[in-house]
């Protein structure tokens, strides 16, 4: 039984990983070889120069820098704010707490499309130039997200209360308990949040499409989408080289921290 299962799993894995292999293969071919039928499975000679050409034809260096700034700011904001808020919901008692927590969960049900237009109107009308900056995408991330509050609250409920009690007896404030006891204890959960948040925002497209107009400010997702040139499209080997370069950081981050990541997925899915 295990033998058959393993055989199917290996076969399935070939199918699942094939598109990525084909992306790599195409990215290393010459322009004519890329369109050859029947295709060469492995390029005759590896055209590494495609990567240089594709990534300098449009200013991808700038796009990568912008995306690191944007995703980085969002990750810091989401880790700090959601752990702060979740601590309140998990460990401090107050009248009305449960009603408020149900409200947190209720906001999960509201599709982003409902809030997207008024939020845009808000940023278009407040003083200071907010459109065509990353602020409309960063600032909300510093004010908590329902999904992550829920995830971290579940985690905090599992930390023994004795830690808080003994810290209080030693005169620590609630803020001190959060900062010096809860944060260090929740490193695995925060790691999961940070990685999920990074990968999500690295790839995010709709938000930047709405707010960022200036080519020099594009994140990689927008840069890649604008790669299309008006004179009859971009050659496939360039497309695939740029696409692979864009998803590579996600895959690298995933491999470095996959233990945290898979934990996060499983916790959020099963306890949800």
């Amino acid at each position: 039984m295990a033998g058959i299962a393993t055989a199917i799993l290996v076969l399935g894995l070939t199918v699942v990983l094939f598109p990525l292999f084909w992306m790599l293969s195409t990215s290393l071919k010459g322009e004519i070889e890329a369109l050859k039928i029947p295709p060469n499975w492995i390029p005759k000679s590896f055209q590494w120069v495609n990567y240089r050409d594709a990534l300098t034809h449009n200013p991808f260096g700038t796009y990568f820098r912008n995306t690191f700034y944007f995703a980085g700011m969002v990750v810091i904001g989401e880790v700090l704010s959601n752990s702060f808020i979740a601590y309140g919901f998990a460990r401090l008692r107050a009248p009305g707490r449960n009603v408020l927590f149900i409200m947190v969960l209720a906001t999960l049900m509201v599709p982003a499309e409902v809030t997207i237009i008024p939020t845009y109107v808000l940023f278009a009308n407040i003083p200071g130039q907010w459109l065509n900056t990353y602020n409309p995408l960063i600032v909300p991330a510093w004010l908590g997200s329902a999904y992550l509050i829920f995830l971290l609250r579940q985690f905090y409920l599992g930390i023994p209360y004795e830690y808080d009690e003994s810290a209080r007896l030693e005169g620590a404030s609630r803020f001190g308990i959060w900062w010096r006891i809860i944060l260090p204890l929740s490193k695995p959960a925060l790691g999961a949040v940070a990685i999920m948040s990074f990968i999500f925002h690295w790839n995010t497209f709709q938000g930047p499409l709405i707010y960022i107009n200036d080519n020099a400010k594009f994140p990689v997702s927008l840069g890649l989408s604008m790669f299309r040139t008006p004179f009859g499209g971009t050659p496939q080997h360039w497309y695939m080289a740029a696409s692979l370069a864009v998803i590579a950081p996600c895959i690298v981050v995933f491999f470095i921290a996959q233990r945290y990541f898979i934990q996060g997925i499983v916790v959020s899915g099963v306890k949800g």
């Binding site: 039984m1 295990a2 299962a5 799993l9 399935g12 894995l13 699942v16 598109p19 084909w22 195409t26 039928i37 029947p38 295709p39 704010s81 808020i85 601590y87 309140g88 401090l92 008692r93 107050a94 009248p95 947190v104 049900m109 509201v110 599709p111 499309e113 409902v114 809030t115 237009i117 008024p118 939020t119 845009y120 109107v121 808000l122 278009a124 909300p140 510093w142 004010l143 509050i149 007896l169 005169g171 609630r174 959060w178 990968i199 790839n203 497209f205 709709q206 709405i210 997702s221 890649l224 989408s225 496939q236 497309y239 998803i247 895959i251 996959q258 898979i262 997925i265 899915g269 949800g272």
Partner: protein
């Protein structure tokens, strides 16, 4: 130094800290959640292009929406996509999770990691470009493989050839479904965790009672993981109705050919941010909200008899 405070004062102090800790969420709720929800409802009764003040028009947007052919078309596209992508996704990820959960399968961790990679980048611009290339009717590898296997001179010469995928209005939605299926690793992990939580004693008992593999699946596995299936079903449905990026990229932001890739949210986006019809687009957003709400309620109702909870009345939120 321990100061003994009266009980009431201590409780008040704790409540104060509670409000301090959740204050960022309160600000976010007012500015970016609750506020916009109300504003969006208000905007749906106006004509608004951001440059000029909103002009109240009553129910006109709603009436116009119900007469809009493209709106119905977008409903059909998103509905059909959801109808295909969600059940197929559940079947594939559950099957693969069950294979992974077989006793004695080696390298479990490696399989889990590698199967998850596509889910990492699912729905991104890069993946949309990749599938456009894989499914290219003339130069794509998929159609080449199809002709090799079942083409005129193929392994099994049936004379079949691959469809025109994103270029054929009838094949556009299935092409997007294929793209979404590729990212099944995410829900597969969730199912795997659910399957690992099923007590082995239940299987033993079923075996002793003489239940075959299929009966064990029907009477043990399925009921035990039915809450997880419900969870992935509802989140999958909501997610499918909100698909945007792949449709925008593949169709170059126009929803063609013949509106076959005019997904609901793409049409909403075009009305808002291309035609500056913010009032009309808000109406569309509210329609979407109501659709999702109704679908969720139906799913929950329908599942009441089908979903098994181990401890009835516990704190499950859904």
């Amino acid at each position: 130094m321990i100061s003994i405070l009266p009980r009431q004062k201590m409780a008040r102090n704790e409540a104060l800290w509670f409000w301090l800790f959740i204050s960022p969420w309160i600000v976010g709720l007012i500015l970016f959640r609750g506020g916009p929800i109300l504003a969006s409802l208000a905007l749906s009764f106006t004509e608004y292009n951001v440059a000029d003040p909103p002009n109240p028009v009553g129910f006109e947007n709603y009436a116009r929406l119900l007469q809009d052919d493209i709106f119905y078309k977008s409903l059909k596209v998103s509905g059909l996509y959801t109808l295909m992508a969600v059940p197929l996704g559940i079947v594939v990820s559950l099957l693969m999770a069950m294979l992974l959960n077989q006793k004695g399968v080696p390298f479990l961790g490696v399989f889990r990691t590698l199967y998850y990679i596509p889910a990492l980048v699912a729905g991104s611009v890069a993946v949309a470009l990749l599938f456009q290339w894989l499914l290219n009717p003339s130069f794509g590898i998929i159609n080449f493989l199809i002709s090799r296997f079942v083409g005129e001179e193929g392994l099994i010469p049936l004379g079949l050839s691959g469809p025109r995928w994103f270029f054929d209005p009838n094949w556009v939605v299935p092409s997007f479904v294929l793209m979404s299926l590729w990212g099944f690793g995410g829900s597969m992990l969730i199912y795997l965790a659910g399957l690992q939580g099923v007590p082995t004693a239940l299987y033993e008992a079923a075996r002793i009672d003489g239940a075959g593999a299929f009966r064990r699946f029907r009477n043990v596995t399925l009921p035990m993981i039915s809450p997880v299936i419900l969870f992935t079903f509802i989140t999958g449905m909501i997610g499918s109705f909100q698909i945007f990026t792949p449709a925008y990229i593949v169709s170059g932001g126009v929803g063609g050919p013949a509106y076959a890739s005019m997904f609901y949210v793409l049409y909403l986006y075009l009305n808002a941010f291309r035609r500056y019809r913010f009032g009309f687009a808000s109406t569309q957003a509210w329609f979407l909200f109501i659709i999702i709400l109704i679908l969720t309620i139906i799913a929950l109702r329908a599942s009441r008899s089908a979903v098994y909870y181990e401890s009835p009345g516990d704190d499950k939120m859904i």
